[in-house]
């Protein structure tokens, strides 16, 4: 029996971390702009998984076949669907409460989350039970040296997450929208005075965050081929903790936090099977006690 700290476990952790990272980004972006913890965010992830599931079924019925192009189209559809639901959620639930006390939006977010979960459970073509996610791409293990393998699925998970995160960085740093987003996150009122359409920027932020969660949903469906309406709760919660760990509101922080979470969870589980589930929450407590603004968080500490 080798040590638990080995290459294979790092690979496992990075794969898990990639999925957390995509979810955590949405949490942190929305928080950065409107100071709202959007607890329905985990459900956008679930919607992404179901959209991909539906897309594969349509493809199979119409085109017959599988493979990389189909996965790519499903990825785009999953991102679109989750993005649109996020957009709609913002417009219908959060925007009317924008200038009301923060607690109202927070409670609304929990309500929206439950609404989506139970609505999906009630829909006859979705239902509350597990569904088998179809295997579009076979997962083949590739040898990584003596004692470790990386599966093609792990490569896809890590690769898609990396590409999307690079895209986001470019968007935030080098586009007008990105500039507007940064401005709104710094000072909403000043941004408004400068002629920025704040609501439009917020809408875009929700949409991008939702789309990222949708992508994570597709990846999770492929990696863990069992989906159900409540699948977003736990990953959502862990991604939220990852965002807090990295410094909520800070985009590189969310990614860093997510990878730390993924690897920590894997190591903790390897050390003791039952410790893994709890490690996320232990990390949350330690971060809140020792460094409430997170690893890369800015100085001003807002209450969550």
């Amino acid at each position: 029996m080798g040590s638990i700290f080995n290459l294979q476990q790092v690979v496992n952790g990075l794969q898990l971390g990639s999925i957390y990272a995509l979810i955590a980004l949405g949490y942190t972006m929305v928080y950065g702009i409107v100071r709202l913890i959007n607890f329905a965010h985990g459900d956008f992830y679930m919607i992404g998984a179901y959209t991909a599931y539906g897309a594969f079924f349509l493809f199979n019925a119409v085109l017959g076949g599988s493979g990389l192009p189909m996965a790519a189209v499903a990825l785009v559809l999953a991102m679109l669907a989750s993005g649109l639901v996020a957009l709609l959620t913002n417009r219908l639930a959060y925007r009317p409460l924008r200038y009301k006390p923060k607690l109202s939006s927070l409670i609304t977010a929990i309500g929206v989350s439950m609404l989506i979960e139970y609505l999906f459970s009630a829909l006859p073509f979705i239902g509350p039970s597990f569904r088998a996610f179809p295997e579009i791409l076979p997962s083949v293990p590739i040898k990584l040296g003596q004692n470790a393998t990386i599966s093609t699925h792990a490569l896809i998970d890590i690769g898609v997450a990396a590409v999307l995160m690079i895209g986001l960085t470019i968007l935030v740093r080098h586009t007008t929208l990105g500039k507007a987003m940064r401005a709104v996150s710094q000072d909403k009122d000043a941004a408004k005075l400068m002629g920025i359409d704040v609501e439009k920027v917020i809408a875009w932020t929700f949409m991008i965050g939702g789309a990222f969660a949708g992508a994570a949903g597709l990846l999770a469906g492929m990696t863990y081929p069992r989906i159900f309406p409540f699948m977003g709760i736990l990953p959502g919660l862990k991604a939220f903790i990852a965002a807090v760990l990295g410094g909520i509101g800070n985009i590189p922080g969310a990614v860093l936090g997510a990878y730390i979470m993924g690897v920590a969870e894997t190591f903790a589980t390897a050390y003791n099977s039952l410790l893994g589930e709890g490690i996320a929450f232990a990390i949350l407590i330690v971060v809140l006690l020792v460094r409430p603004r997170g690893i890369l968080g800015e100085k001003h500490a807002d209450k969550i």
Binding site: N12, S151, Y224, T266, E277
Partner: protein, 380 residues
């Protein structure tokens, strides 16, 4: 006047008919049957009833039992413990049954068992797996037997199969720590595998509801087992198998009857190939008892028998066989005959151990080309 006369005449006729009917007719042996024919487990109850009826029909066709016809009184317990207790009392006190075959759910059998004990009317439950049905608080229920093997037994058989048939010498196991069924199976697998001379190189738990098992599975794969025992239900089995294959494990997987679902292959695909699980019986078993039963059942009911119908059929046959050997319908004599059972049942040649659990072989089913294929039968 005319009307009164005719009424009196009619009354007389009816009375006559009743008198002539009641004490006469051929003597019968009345057997009680109990199952959840309605309620949440209705298909279980229906299968069980069909299995019992088929067995009784066959015995009667062969001339009955102890020179008498057998009559089956089948009652619905609705899958409810209180209903079960009422039905048990009714069968014993009103229908004067000499023995009871029932029921499906453990919680209902647990309500019936003390009543059988109290009146000394022997019972066999076809499918209740809870150990305390026959053996409760360190005390044997003397009149209560079961026809299905209890959960830990599957772990024992799985280990024997892995060691003898698959030739594995190093095994690993993973199980759901929040579920007594999977935990029990894995523990018995480990103990048996070690006692056979094998080595258990990894024994890993996972929390209920987990989707990522890679951390545990990495430990398992790196420990270099020949076989991995997965005692979970099909849902988790599929995810675990997939992740095991992703980590490069190509060896055989073994599990219990929790695998028995068409969804296993849907979820697991290629990953569950080279997988084997223990089950009560396989309809593809070539033994004549099995093929004979499957043919007769299918002819009568238009569908292949499931495990419940099979176990009910076996339970009824074991009971009738015992009454035949006892040569009497007296409860105590039937009980003693039951204890001495050695019967070639469909689900395997059956004897009873000291706790009234059957000692019999289990079928090993292989997942091959996305299908469940009968592989072999393993005796404990």
């Amino acid at each position: 006047m005319k009307r009164t006369l005719s009424i009196v005449a009619l009354a007389l006729l009816v009375a006559l008919a009743l008198v002539s009917c009641a004490p006469k007719g051929p003597a019968e042996i009345v057997i009680g049957g109990v199952g959840p024919v309605s309620g949440e487990a209705a298909t279980f109850g229906k299968s069980t009833q069909e299995g019992c009826e088929l067995a009784v029909e066959e015995w009667n066709a062969k001339g009955g039992l102890l020179g008498q016809k057998i009559k089956l009184v089948y009652e619905d317990d609705k899958g409810d413990a209180a209903e079960g207790a009422a039905v048990w009392t009714k069968l014993i006190q009103q229908d004067k049954v000499v023995a009871i075959v029932g029921t499906v759910m453990s919680k209902v059998s647990l309500a019936g068992a003390p009543i059988s004990e109290q009146y000394g009317v022997p019972m066999i439950s076809p499918t209740s797996t809870n150990p305390s049905v026959t053996f409760s608080d360190g005390k044997l229920r003397d009149f209560v037997f079961r026809a299905c093997f209890i959960d830990p037994f599957q772990g024992t058989v799985g280990a024997k199969f892995a060691y003898d048939d698959l030739g594995a010498r190093k095994a690993a196991a993973i199980f759901d720590v929040g579920n007594d069924y999977t935990k029990g199976l894995s523990e018995f697998f480990r103990d048996t595998f070690v006692s056979l001379g094998g080595e258990v190189v990894a024994f890993e738990a996972h929390p209920t509801g987990a989707t990522d098992f890679k951390a545990q599975l990495t430990k398992i794969v790196q420990a270099g087992p020949d076989v991995v025992y997965i005692s979970d239900y099909y849902n988790d089995v599929a995810l675990i198998a997939k992740q095991l294959r992703e980590l490069g494990f190509t060896g055989p997987l073994v599990g219990g009857d929790g695998w028995d679902s068409p969804d296993l292959v849907k979820l697991g695909g290629e990953a569950v190939e080279n997988g084997f699980f223990t089950n009560h019986y396989s309809k593809d078993d070539t033994r004549p008892e099995v093929q004979d039963f499957v043919r007769k059942y299918t002819a009568k009911y238009g569908a292949a028998p499931d495990a419940l119908a099979t176990l009910a059929y076996d339970a009824m046959n074991i009971m009738l066989d015992a009454i035949g050997r006892a040569g009497s319908t007296e409860g105590v004599k039937i009980r003693d005959a039951l204890k001495a059972t050695d019967f070639a049942a469909v689900s395997g040649r059956t004897t009873f151990d000291a706790q009234h659990n059957p000692v019999k072989a289990a079928a090993i089913i292989e997942i091959k080309g996305g299908q469940q294929v009968y592989r072999t039968t393993v005796a404990p």
